[in-house]
């Protein structure tokens, strides 16, 4: 067995280790089912891309399923399928994650197959052309969906000057032009064990599984890691509203307000506050915007977006018209400037519902792996993830009000309204 440096024994069943090749490994034993989930997080996402490599991370994610030095695309897939292993991948601004999930008896080979894809892909030229068309088709599909177009427009305005202004898929003209060599260099720069975190959840022996991971991934190169992205903080001055027109008949309103980083002790209280704002029964905002005989919008919801250095509270609404979007902004200001509508009972119910929802979701190893992927990619650990959800259980009304005070006083935001032509 190799030499491992145990960093922290978090609980009896959760460990975090660093392998000699630099790969971080989070091991959560759960023997309730003979199943194992392995999510490998690569610190490579849209925020790591240069102007010359926009969209590369997502394009590469597609290409890594297309063949390695020793296996064809079909052989990779068959090897997973024959063992009942589910496999998938997704790309976000902050990271890329590759997951496998299958019976414990087959997971060693699943890890070897996954490692072969991540470390030894050859990005065959003929597959490159096919994947280029697949990605472009994905872009076209998104372009036909108002919600996607609205999101891209919103990001480009609200987060201008940060890497979050760029779409994860990149731009069509760049994907059409990109050469295999450029993708390959990007691949080799980022896909190395010391730039990866493996999250293993389920029915396994920790000492055995780290040995399998170490053998499968091999050593890291001696060259330095790519630099971490520089992300200026999101600090709008006052309130700013941008209004645009588009080809669709619907109207969207999207608003970004600065929020707390997830490791801030007040973050759990902010999560409860966001959920309260989303509660149709409790939120005065939703009661005025989507309820009643003449609602201003068909849909409105808040989300707490946590990223590397950029944390925001985001509102997405589908108002009836740009004029209604302006009315919604006024209601938003009124709601956030006075949170006295929040009661102890509401906080108690909401935190219970949040905790329950988290437990329901993470009953599945795959979903827990995906949740954890977000946290570790943002520089967190299992401990921070656990503290955040434990923290939600303890949140009081006073803490919710304090979190609101910290985030909404003074009120600062960037709002984007986009609606049918003819609007200002």
């Amino acid at each position: 067995m190799g030499f491992f440096l145990p960093l922290l024994l978090l609980t009896a069943t959760v460990q975090e280790r660093v392998l000699p090749n630099g790969m971080r490994v989070i091991l959560k034993e759960d023997h309730s089912a003979p199943l194992v989930d392995v999510t490998v997080v690569v610190k490579s996402g849209a925020v790591y891309e240069a102007d010359s490599t926009l969209g590369m991370t997502h394009f590469l994610e597609h290409l890594l399923f297309d063949g390695t030095e020793t296996q064809t695309r079909e052989q990779i897939r068959d090897r997973f399928d024959e063992r009942g292993i589910y496999f998938n991948a997704f790309t976000r601004h902050d990271f890329t994650a590759y997951l496998i999930n299958g019976p414990s008896e087959f997971i060693d080979d699943g890890i070897r197959n996954q490692a072969d894809m991540l470390m030894h892909s050859i990005l065959p030229e003929h597959e490159l052309e096919k994947e280029r068309q697949v990605v472009i088709e994905e872009m076209h599909k998104d372009r036909a969906r108002p919600s996607e177009v609205a999101d891209e427009l919103f990001r480009s305005i609200a987060y201008a000057g940060t890497p979050y202004a760029k779409p994860v898929l990149g731009y069509e003209e760049q994907i059409l032009r990109v050469k295999r060599g450029t993708v390959y260099r990007y691949y080799k720069a980022f896909y190395r064990p010391d730039n990866m975190i493996a999250i293993v959840i389920g029915d396994f022996d920790p000492d055995h599984i780290v040995k399998v991971l170490e053998d499968a991934y091999g050593p890291s190169p001696d060259t330095p890691l790519p630099p971490a992205p520089e992300i200026p903080p999101f600090q709008p001055e006052g309130t700013r509203v941008v209004q645009k027109t588009w080809q669709f008949p619907s109207t969207y309103l999207m608003v970004a307000l600065p929020a707390l980083p997830p490791d801030d002790p007040r973050a759990p209280a902010l999560e409860v506050l966001v959920e309260l704002l989303n509660s149709e029964g409790d939120s005065p905002f939703l009661q005025q915007v989507v309820a009643g005989d003449h609602p201003l919008a068909v849909e409105a919801y808040f989300s707490y977006e946590k990223h590397l250095g950029l944390n925001t509270l985001q509102l997405t609404a589908k108002p009836n018209s740009p004029a209604d979007a302006r009315r919604i902004l006024q209601i938003l200001q009124n709601t956030l400037s006075d949170l006295s509508w929040i009661t102890d009972d509401m906080v108690r119910r909401t935190r219970t519902a949040l905790v329950a929802d988290h437990y329901f979701t993470t009953e599945s190893f795959t979903y827990e792996g995906m949740y954890l992927a977000y946290w570790v990619a943002l520089g967190g650990s299992y401990d921070l993830y656990q503290r955040f959800y434990d923290g939600i259980r303890q949140v009081s009304r006073d803490q919710v009000l304090a979190a609101g005070q910290a985030v909404f006083q003074p009120l600062r935001y960037v709002a984007v309204i986009v609606g049918p032509g003819g609007a200002r």
């Binding site: 023997h31 309730s32 089912a33 003979p34 199943l35 068959d78 399928d81 024959e82 063992r83 009942g84 292993i85 589910y86 999930n101 299958g102 019976p103 414990s104 008896e105 087959f106 029964g281 108690r348 119910r349 909401t350 219970t352 519902a353 905790v355 329950a356 929802d357 437990y359 329901f360 009953e363 599945s364 190893f365 795959t366």
Partner: protein
């Protein structure tokens, strides 16, 4: 039809013992039938922070006088119960840290996984720490629904809007007609949502009558998966459900067992898509041929994905499946969604795939691959306590007994290529198929 009766539970028990990996996860499961006829299954999972309560209400369509009654009863369960109105129920669910699901949400594409024309369900997940008050609340919901008139009007409007939309969605049109042909004369032929005409006519009185007929203990299976000992759970269940009364008076559904005539129906639906259902009746889940038929469907699904989607680019959605029903019958079907201009080629491709089961029998490796995939999928589904409760209820209802949930993987692993060829010859002749297609031809 030859059945598993002779083998019975002994085979299931042997299968469980023979399977090391299943044995490892085996938890104490207790089944009892209360004096009022309610079947109760309790599974204990020590330390689980999540508990699940599942009620299966059998023969949902057999109690309908107007198609759609069962669906409306399900949609109304959280609209009023005892002294609680809709808002109070929603607040109570939040307080308990719970989630309730009683019907399919037509706006979520894959939400209909648990939807059946054979039975209705009430799925309730809750934090284990709140299991005791949750059981009280659950009993209130299923035993004392009030069906408030004003909520009924709103819910009916929502169902009617869904039905109007469904009339132009090829897969929904094709599916409803396919089952109505397959189960002609049986309540299983009813469309789950009803029809615009039948739903418009349903009154509160209809729902009360339906509820009183269907929601009776002998027609229900209550399954609880929690961190509590079975004795604790059973004591609570007896207290909450022991005085539940009423009896289900149902004649056997002989129409469901009648052989079906092969036929082809093409239904024009505007648009550029087409959806095809091709299938037939097969024996029920207890039949000795059921495992081989299930494997045949898995092999076909795999072949269709490789050949028709990946190689020929014919489909945006496709697969083959088996479904089993309480009268002791099943359905074997192939489905495909395609572009209208590819309809003829897609239909031909489906027939070729079906023929390939005999002409190009599956290899041992092919069977191992699909059975392992099924095993992986089984494990993933069973991670959730509510799904554990669902599958225990389902197999108890379909008659092999709840033990089948654990035993099935061994039965599937025993299937050999010659078994697949044999059942394909016996039940899956392309000329014997019912084919329904809907779309812009």
């Amino acid at each position: 039809m030859n059945t598993l009766r002779a083998a019975g539970l002994g085979l299931m028990a042997a299968a469980v013992l023979a399977l090391g990996c299943v044995q490892k996860t085996e938890k104490p499961i207790v089944k009892t039938v209360l004096p009022n006829g309610l079947t109760v299954i309790v599974k204990t999972v020590p330390g689980s922070p999540v508990s699940a309560i599942h009620l299966l209400v059998g023969h949902r369509m057999a109690f309908e006088k107007k198609p759609g009654e069962s669906n409306l009863v399900q949609m109304m369960l959280d609209q009023g119960a005892g002294d609680l109105d809709r808002q109070a129920i929603a607040r109570r669910i939040e307080e308990l840290g719970a989630q309730l699901k009683t019907h399919d949400n037509p706006y979520f594409p894959f939400d209909d996984y648990y939807n059946s024309r054979d039975f209705a369900y009430v799925r309730f997940k809750v934090l284990s720490e709140n299991l005791e008050p949750a059981l009280d609340f659950f009993a209130l919901l299923v035993r004392r629904p009030t069906f408030p008139e004003k909520e009924l009007a709103r819910i009916k409007a929502r169902v009617l809007a869904t039905l109007r939309e469904s009339q132009v969605i090829p897969d929904k049109v094709a599916r409803n007609r396919f089952y109505s042909l397959l189960f002609q004369g049986s309540p299983l032929a009813h469309p789950i949502l009803g029809t615009p005409e039948s739903v418009a006519e349903i009154t509160r009185d209809d729902l009360v009558r339906y509820y009183q007929a269907a929601y009776v203990p002998a027609n229900c299976i209550l399954t609880i998966v929690s961190d509590r000992p079975a004795s604790w759970v059973l004591e609570r269940v007896r207290k909450l459900f022991g005085d539940w009364s009423g009896s289900a008076n149902l004649a056997p559904d002989t129409a469901a067992l009648k052989p079906v005539e092969p036929q082809t129906v093409e239904i024009p639906v505007p648009g550029k898509r087409a959806y095809i259902y091709m299938g037939t009746k097969i024996p029920g889940l207890r039949d000795l041929d059921a495992p081989a038929l299930r494997v045949a469907a898995m092999v076909l699904s795999d072949r269709m994905a490789g050949e028709l989607r990946e190689k020929r680019g014919l489909a945006y959605r496709l697969g083959a499946f088996t479904r089993f029903y309480s009268p002791g019958v099943g359905v074997f079907a192939l489905v495909m969604g395609t572009s209208s201009h590819k309809y003829a080629e897609a239909r031909k491709g489906m027939q070729e795939m079906l023929e390939s089961l005999v002409q190009n029998p599956p290899t041992e490796q092919e069977i191992r691959r699909v059975v392992n995939a099924s095993w992986g999928s089984h494990l993933r589904y069973h991670q959730k306590k509510i799904n554990q409760a669902y599958f225990l209820s389902l197999y108890e209802y379909l008659d092999p007994g709840y033990e089948y949930d654990l035993a099935q993987i061994r039965l599937l692993r025993q299937v050999r290529p010659e078994d697949v060829v044999r059942v394909a010859r016996k039940y899956l002749q392309p000329k014997q198929m019912v084919l329904v297609a809907a779309g812009g031809f």
